[in-house]
């Protein structure tokens, strides 16, 4: 089954799992099934129209799905799907 890697900011919605197994043959199915398993992820991953939020990138193995076939990008049982959000920390204030 494909592995989905969960970034730190979203782990509190996946019971602190950094990796989850999710079934699906294209990215949209993976996203749908991930949201089914972890409903709180939905509003952080998708906008109100159901599209992936623009500050979140999804990579299948090493490549951005925006450069493949977007949500129709095919995945196989060995694929690793990474969710990579924008993070801004660096010079931290209190």
């Amino acid at each position: 089954m494909p592995i989905v890697l969960i970034p730190t900011p979203l782990r509190r919605f996946t019971r602190n799992s950094s990796k989850v197994l999710v079934s699906g043959s294209v990215v949209s199915e993976i996203v749908d099934n991930l949201v089914l398993d972890y409903p709180e992820v939905q509003s952080h991953l998708l906008d109100s129209s159901g599209s992936i939020r623009q500050f979140i990138n999804i990579f299948v193995d090493e490549d951005d799905i925006r450069n493949l076939h977007q949500l129709n990008t095919v995945v196989n049982i060995h694929s690793t799907i990474s969710i990579v959000p924008a993070i801004a920390g660096g010079n931290l204030k209190n």
Partner: protein, 385 residues
């Protein structure tokens, strides 16, 4: 001993371990000396970055920062000492770096980088290194680099995770690589992702990521090795896994895509929605809140901080962290006055705006100054953090 055009005898001794590396040598060391780098943010990332760039012999280093050194910086900002608390970070950094390497020039810009000063400040430098802490400045640094044709060595951290890449660099084929807007076309909604001052960060993480950023700056300047141009590096300190992804230019990039629409710097706070959320909310002071309680007014007190903060100190409030308050709004009592609090009053104001926007409720009040102000005003002997 042979005379050298660029280096004194002392410098040759100092940089000996660089110069004797076959693939680095005198040529790369000369490039470092001739280079200028602007480090934006002298914080967690800026600390190791500045120390290593100075130690390595980058000839001219600029530092932009407007903060002073605080106690809570010292857990990760290894550039500063206890006796520098209260000093301007730029001044403390300059002193430390000049002591570390007297053969380089340090210029300080004690200012916040803004759309008004960024092009002027950045223009004097070859490379920018972005170690800032917020989305508006991230986009500002990016756009400044794209408009001026400069390389942006980027690093960012969150709790246990770090990202590093090199934006806007020209490759060996003469093509310019992707930039921040290709990777992240739009910023997150304000308040949708907890920032680091709310979520915390392991002190050693900016040390690791800032060193990687310094490495990439040195590679960009010297041309040694392959930089992260067109690749995004991710490090997860919890699992000790790192991954590298391919990133590409987007035809939709407003700065240099197929149909560019942006030719100058913009209002980045507006772009990131920061201004939009600053609508005023109803405020209540801790004393007024206690008065309501004494008068027997029905009040529900909700705390939107993170569980670990709540565990540290709380005043018997109901915990609903900001990140989930939209989904758990049913817990809010519409028949009472609802006072929402956090550490200092910022997150609770965000929560109120979010609930007001979503449900139009009018019974929400922000605890002014958060739990810190409550402890102070009520003169309680509780831990502050």
């Amino acid at each position: 001993m042979n005379q050298n055009r660029y280096f004194s005898k002392e410098e040759l001794l100092r940089y000996n371990r660089h110069i004797i590396i076959p693939d680095f040598g005198m040529e790369a060391q000369e490039k470092l000396k001739k280079a200028s780098v602007l480090v934006v943010g002298a914080g967690g990332l800026g600390s190791p970055l500045l120390l290593y760039l100075a130690a390595a012999g980058v000839g001219h280093i600029g530092i932009v920062d407007c903060d002073v050194v605080e106690d809570s910086n010292l857990q990760r900002q290894v550039l500063f000492d206890v006796d520098e608390i209260g000093m301007l970070k730029t001044e403390a950094a300059k002193k430390r770096l000049e002591a570390l390497n007297p053969f380089i020039k340090i210029t300080v810009h004690h200012a916040q980088l803004t759309s008004h000063n960024a092009l002027d400040i950045a223009n004097d430098y070859d490379v920018l290194a972005d170690g800032t802490d917020n989305f508006p400045t991230r986009y500002l640094v990016n756009d400044t680099c794209v408009l001026l044709g400069k390389v942006n060595v980027y690093a960012s951290i969150f709790q246990f995770e770090g990202q590093v890449t090199v934006f806007n660099q020209i490759n060996e084929k003469g093509e310019r690589g992707p930039n921040y807007r290709d990777l992240f076309p739009l910023p997150p909604d304000p308040g949708s992702v907890p920032n680091c001052s709310e979520a915390g960060v392991l002190g050693v993480l900016p040390g690791i990521i800032g060193c990687l950023q310094a490495l990439e700056v040195i590679k960009v300047i010297t041309g040694v090795g392959e930089t992260l141009n067109g690749r995004l590096y991710l490090f997860d300190a919890l699992t000790f896994e790192s991954r590298t992804f391919n990133i590409k230019k987007s035809v939709d990039n407003p700065l240099n895509g197929q149909n560019p629409t942006q030719t100058s710097l913009i209002d980045y706070e507006q772009f990131c929605g920061v201004k939009a959320i600053e609508r005023k909310v109803k405020q209540i002071t801790p004393k007024e809140f206690v008065k309501w309680q004494d008068q027997g007014v029905g009040v529900q007190l909700i705390d939107v901080r993170e569980p670990h903060e709540y565990e540290l100190v709380n005043i018997g409030s109901q915990l609903i962290p900001l990140g989930v308050i939209g989904d758990q709004a049913s817990k809010i009592d519409l028949n009472k006055r609802v006072v929402i609090m956090c550490k200092s009053g910022m997150r609770s104001a965000k929560a109120i705006r979010l609930l007001e926007d979503k449900y139009g409720w009018a019974n929400l009040y922000n605890m002014e100054g958060g739990i810190l102000n409550y402890i102070d005003e009520m003169e309680l002997d509780l831990p502050v953090y």
